[in-house]
Symmetry: C2
Subunit: 219 residues, 2 copies
């Protein structure tokens, strides 16, 4: 039963490592693996039906994403966030997204960018009555799009490295608090600010949005 890839047909199946990564990420950010919990490699590999070697590769990645914290003897545990850390995470997030909107404002032609952002906001609006989880997904997708549209791969990568921590913050604070940040209007404001091309205005809008978001979570 020793592995192999398996491209088979155009479908590009995910490797076991990637599957485990997704599964663990979901388990952690959904709270199924509660914060502070010690993770035992043999237990997880048994649960996920993969070998420890493959699992350990995934764990390293999660560790770097900030979802796991390493204890004394290499013991890993699910990271525990307090109010300060949530504010810290959102401060970094604000700095990154602030760069994103500034970059977008400086583009000579913003029409296609605005179009993409508007459709992302539309998705949010459409999900306004959907499940809380879906609303959060569409919200994160909007902000991820903000970074992606800059064309700055490093920026996008940094943001995505932070995404796990953001999700943990939401989980830690409780979803009912998080949905207070899902206002479609606020996101319209951000798009509008970018449309004007006024970098300072756009930056202020994002910073304020993030401040409010962090405050809502830790309040």
């Amino acid at each position: 039963m020793a592995g192999a890839t398996a491209p088979l047909l155009g479908l590009e199946k995910k490797s076991l490592r990637e599957q485990a990564l997704s599964a663990l990420r979901t388990a952690i950010t959904s709270g199924e693996l509660e914060p502070g919990r010690h993770l035992v490699e043999t237990e997880l590999s048994d649960m996920l039906q993969i070998s420890r070697g493959t699992l350990r590769e995934a764990l390293r990645q999660l560790e770097q994403e900030g979802l796991l914290s390493a204890g004394p003897r290499g013991r890993l545990s699910v990271r525990h966030l307090d109010g300060k850390e949530i504010r810290d995470i959102f401060a970094v997030r604000a700095a990154l997204e602030s760069l994103a909107v500034r970059t977008l404002c400086e583009l000579p032609d913003r029409t296609s960018v605005i179009a993409s952002l508007r459709s992302a906001v539309d998705v949010m609006a459409a999900a306004a009555e959907a499940s809380l989880e879906e609303r959060i997904e569409s919200d994160l997708e909007f902000h991820r799009t903000l970074c992606r549209l800059t064309g700055n791969e490093t920026l996008l990568h940094s943001w995505e490295s932070l995404e796990g921590s953001i999700r943990m913050s939401i989980m830690f604070a409780g979803i009912e608090r998080a949905v207070k940040n899902m206002s479609v209007d606020r996101h319209h404001d951000i798009v509008a600010a970018i449309e004007t091309g006024n970098a300072t205005l756009a930056r202020t809008t994002i910073l304020e949005h993030m401040d409010v978001a962090a405050a809502n979570l830790v309040a």
Copy 2:
């Protein structure tokens, strides 16, 4: 010969994985492993005298740090940077350090912070006549200190995740270009700006510093 830890004596010996990580990072950022080069796992594990399993854990981490890029069939190669990517990296770096100085400016008591920064600048001044490598190290240490002093662990972690890319940028541009950024005066300006507590001024100073640095590298 199958492994184990080996604390031995208080000295906290590094695990093989960490040793490999350091070795590879150095090899890449020093140019010993030239950009674009394909990495073969068996070759590396042979060279570093460790098994593939252990090596692969280190490779995942380097991949996430942006030093390696994954090709079609999982083939890894040393990341190749062009001018745009260097500018992008420094834009993100600027955003992070901009947050750092702003945070420091908002501290009620900055005396100990200023003291730490001054001593970091002193180290740079002392290294002014040293080897180019040492000057670069002391420069990076100054900027890392900037982030560390904020007490924002997430910020520090994000910056350190970018550090490898920064080192690659320097290597790619050539050390002779990079040393143009090692001006002690410029760093004094940054500290002075923080000392005033004027967040806007400090932010402007850092952004300009980063702009010049990026321009020097890609010029």
